[in-house]
Amino acid sequence: MTNPYAYTEAEVLSIVEETQNIKTFALRPKSAIAFRAGQFMDVTLPGIGEAPFTPSSNHNVRDRLDFTIMRAGRVTGLLHEAKVGDVVGVRGPYGLGYPLADFKSKEVFIVGGGVGLAPLRALLYALFNEVNDYKKIVLKYGARTSKDIVYKQEIGSWKGKAPHIDVEISVDIGDGSWKGNVGLVTTILRAGAVDINNAVAIVCGPPIMMKFVTFKLLDLGFKDSAIYLSMEKNMSCGIGKCGHCRIGPYYACKDGPVFTYDKIKNLQNIWD
């Protein structure tokens, strides 16, 4: 009997403190786990509870999975107290992941906000694996302040991976040390960054950011079906049974969590 609710034990290999309330945990599952960028998994604190996260690491690596986790509730609060060597659990992957085949030979325009860069990091690594298959890769990332930027150690190196990669960061609130753009991430979404007719936009961030980024992308001329949104819902079982993550006729856990805007734009309350 395969028990879909059972988890695989995983050891905490390393912990990176990204910001004051965000940490990246590298986990080594007891047996290798294959996932596709954009799919999510449930991370369990044995005997405490579990919560859904999208791995933020390269999907070509199956024996070491990164999870970038913001302290936001009971389980994440306790996860933040985990130490290297602790054993947690993982189950999954669930959902559909990014349709990379559909992005081939296109310009990929990625917009992230805050900890929403986590699944996009997995996407970027997947794109970097076959970097020449994509015409252009552009990342526009927004954080509240410069202190809230995640992956500070590596984000600067992404631009140098290939000539057709561009990375720009904006912070909502500037300070003396920040030399880049100050303003919401929508202020760095400009016409001309990509060839709209041959581009896809991938967005992940807090609901309010996703809403305004989507409207801005539509203004720029992106088609509904070319905008890929990560819909954050209360995904629990991961297999379309528990009922928590319903969004219109879909369950985010099995039909998503990434949806193109045309599939959800006529549904109610999608931004709440």
Binding site: M1, P4, G49, E232, C237, K241, D272
Partner: protein
Amino acid sequence: MEKKLYKITRKDLYDLFTRLSSEYRILVPYAKGEALHFGEFDPEKENSIELGGIRQSQPVKSFINPAREKILNSSRRDKRPLILAGVKGCDLSSFILQDFVFLKGDTEDPFYAENRKNTIIIGNDCTCAKETCFCLAMEGTPYPQKYFDINLSPINDYFLAEIASDKGEALITDFKMFFKNYTAMDLNAKQANREKVTREVRYFIDKRGTQSTAQIKGAVKRNYNLAALWQDFAATCVECGACNLVCPTCHCFLLFDEKAKDANKRYRIWDACLYNTFARVAGGANPRKHLYERLRNRFEKKFDFFPEILGYFACTGCGRCIEACPGDIDLREVLKGLVSGEKWNKPPND
């Protein structure tokens, strides 16, 4: 398989249950006040067993998808297969939905599948109707049509037993002496009872003007943004979730972890979409912050979502939610409001 029909007396049926009770766990309906409750078969309490009447207080899901099921490091205490006797038509039709949720799709729920496999279902015709009954409006009937292994149609002090599956046939194979030939009169009596109860249910539906599925189709979508309607019906809701818990088609659950000395436990526990935590995510965002949105969600799920994805209106007309609601919210009145919509469509100053 070909359906087989026999006659069995009440006494012989209880003798059969007594003989089977070492191998099977047997649940039968007992009369308790005005209601029926499932309980363990006990030959000494034969007089209060009621195989007839109306549906029991517990929805049938309680025995296949229990309110709390251990799903990690579990070991079943009672390993005997279950015989569930006396299940009414309204409850049986909920298997369309429960089986769809737990058995279909990419992943099967192995705990549900095992319980389903290990349960023999003995259906039972209703012999009366209650004011809250409206199965006919929800495309059901007050007698089982599907999802049973054996069905019992009560006639005086005996039953017409219909054997409808191999599981049912296997159960009685060693006890054929209890099963006798029936007469044409028995068939007529069975039919007469079914028609009588159907008339009773129809009477209650007509009296209240309860809407049927054809009328309800599209009504939730049409009135989705009519906040005043939903707010009116949610005015007396106390978010107890009773309507969810007693509903034979509600299937939502949460996963709950518990620390234990030897092996940690994980449970699958019924959840209720009326609770404000149901759709809330970490950090506090909640797509259904307001109570009226959660009440609306219940109706959207039953009368819009499932008709769309399964072609099934997720209400069996059992009426349990009407009886359970401490705020006197009557699902039939909500449906009437949704179909007419009139009262709430008037401009505020009219």
